[in-house]
């Protein structure tokens, strides 16, 4: 089966299929910048930063670190600031934009990835703390053109509307099924409660997880 290769369902190849959308977004950003020339100054003045004394650069602790991130089976050497999260590292440094930034504070689940097979929040995980660990993102689920059973089930059950929470929902669902928490709709809802969907696709998400769990029973995901 062949499916669209866009942000929602993951991007096996980060160099393909993404350029048009990214290009469009950057054009849009440039356009709105020219239309609102006064905005940056106003934004700076109203920013929370106004009352915070900034530490001079000379007093900033040295925080660049050489790391190797192992993402979807590939080792990626990077020099990162110690503040960089796994979420920002995969999106901005490795150009894998399948993992989504929602709240960036651990409240929405959009950034869910697997680390050493367990579902975790990449927005609250520092990249420097994941050395030697296996990170799996949405891009690492499919085998070539063959979707992971959870991805396929989300398509057949229509488990999304806008799609923004979908990569996180799918990664979390993979973890939920592996943990064995798919015994009932209630159990699925409870163990998927860390993934919010503002479109309210929950009934179809539950259906998709039930379908995928049945399919994966006995199989190694």
């Amino acid at each position: 089966m062949h499916y669209r290769n866009d942000d929602t369902m993951g991007e096996p190849s980060p160099d393909k299929g993404r350029s048009s959308r990214r290009h469009f977004l950057s054009q849009l950003a440039a356009l709105s910048a020219t239309l609102t020339i006064a905005a940056p100054a106003a934004r700076a003045a109203s920013s929370k930063e106004r009352s915070r004394p900034e530490t001079p650069d000379s007093e900033q602790p040295e925080s660049l670190v050489d790391i190797v991130l192992k993402v979807n089976g590939q080792e990626k050497p990077l020099k990162v600031d110690s503040r960089v999260t796994v979420l920002d590292a995969v999106r901005d440094r490795l150009n894998m934009s399948g993992t989504k930034k929602g709240c960036d504070h651990g409240a929405c689940g959009a950034c869910t990835v697997l680390i050493d097979g367990k579902r975790v929040l990449s927005c609250l995980t520092l990249a420097v703390m994941t050395q030697g660990k296996e990170i799996t993102t949405i891009e690492g689920l499919a085998h070539g053109d063959e979707l992971h059973p959870v991805q396929a089930a989300f398509v057949t059950c229509d488990g999304f509307q806008c799609g923004y929470c979908t990569p996180g929902q799918i990664m979390s669902a993979v973890g939920c099924i592996r943990e064995g928490h798919t015994g009932s709709d209630t159990e699925i809802r409870e163990f998927m409660s860390g993934n919010l969907c503002r479109c309210g696709a929950y009934p179809n998400i539950v259906q998709a997880i039930k379908q995928a769990a049945t399919q994966m029973k006995g199989a190694v995901s």
Partner: protein
């Protein structure tokens, strides 16, 4: 987020000698959030992850849990589920599956309050900036405490796990530059008084290495009930950890602690005493529960917690005691 120097701890003594202005990180689910908000701004971050404070051991003295064990692993440990259901239930009703896979037991006990003023650096907060004031006392305080409130602070302690562990008389093992020591979990948490910035009986450089739950054969008859604004993935409005020692239908002993209502995990020995010697039935539970809110100090928006916490305890007692 402010810049910091990162170091992975090689040994316990390496970690505890990291010096001032160091924050210890384990799961990071609370600390990274607070660092992004600029509420906590360490210049050094020491990762405790490489240390060996792990393992769940059940022996004749009780249950020993390594401070670095993940919440999810402890919640699903069959021995914990069977012998200390209140601990498993409190963990499973905490946070989300993802966060429980990341967060450690020690880190859970060290998590900071969810008070909105504490988390907003544009607001005064005596806990964050001592002496700056407490807007919650006269402001948005629906989620705030009714027990242990002072004129400086009314923020609730957010941990469910801590409530269950306090009910079980748990003890923390700490290691610091001066060696190791033990402290009862209930005493580990400090009342805000006029120093709400001091939250724990913990000294500079100290880390939690183990949580010890003393053996209590009757802890298998225990449970945790949590009442929230939404069904899951939410902090408690009120919660109750209940442990009952029954001899037939007679209550030999009991432990009760409540969450979502105290500036620290709130133990209720008065309620436990009132239950002793009584027959486990609805009337005895209701009579004992009536004393639960003695000494409560309500604020403009959280008066409902007085009756809600009583009902929470009553329902928890009824469920654990097998009384319909």
């Amino acid at each position: 987020m402010r810049a910091f120097q990162f170091k992975a701890a090689a040994t316990p003594s390496d970690a505890v000698s990291s010096g001032a202005d160091t924050a210890f990180i384990a799961g990071g689910t609370n600390l990274i959030d607070l660092m992004k908000l600029d509420v906590v701004t360490p210049t050094k971050l020491v990762d405790l992850g490489p240390l060996s404070f792990r393992g769940i051991t059940l022996d004749s003295t009780g249950l020993h849990i390594g401070a670095l064990e993940k919440m999810a692993d402890v919640a699903e440990d069959p021995r914990v589920v069977k012998k200390y259901p209140v601990v498993s239930q409190a963990l499973l009703k905490s946070a989300s599956a993802q966060i429980r896979n990341m967060a450690t037991m020690g880190g859970n006990l060290m998590q900071r309050t969810r008070c909105g003023y504490f988390r907003d650096t544009d607001s005064p907060c005596n806990k964050r900036v001592p002496g700056s004031g407490c807007p919650a006392l006269e402001g948005e305080n629906r989620m705030h405490a009714i027990f242990g409130v002072s004129d400086s602070c009314c923020a609730t302690h957010p941990s469910d796990l801590a409530v269950a562990l306090v009910a079980l008389d748990s003890v923390l093992k700490l290691q610091g530059p001066q060696g190791t020591r033990e402290v009862k979990l209930e005493d580990f948490y400090l009342l805000p008084g006029n120093t709400p910035d001091r939250e724990h009986d913990i000294r500079s450089g100290e880390i939690i290495t183990e949580i010890f739950v003393p053996a209590k054969a009757w802890a298998s008859r225990s449970g945790y009930l949590k009442i929230r604004d939404r069904e899951s993935y939410e902090f408690a409005l009120t919660s109750a950890a209940v442990v009952l020692d029954l001899d037939g239908s007679t209550i030999r002993d009991a432990r009760i602690a409540v969450g979502g209502v105290g500036t620290k995990p709130w133990s209720l020995p008065v309620v436990a005493e009132a239950l002793k010697g009584r027959t486990a039935n609805r009337e005895a539970f209701a009579a004992a529960t009536e004393q639960a809110a003695e000494g409560a100090r309500t604020l403009s928006q959280n008066g409902f917690k007085v009756s809600l916490v009583k009902k929470t305890i009553l329902r928890a007692l009824s469920e654990v005691g097998g009384v319909a």
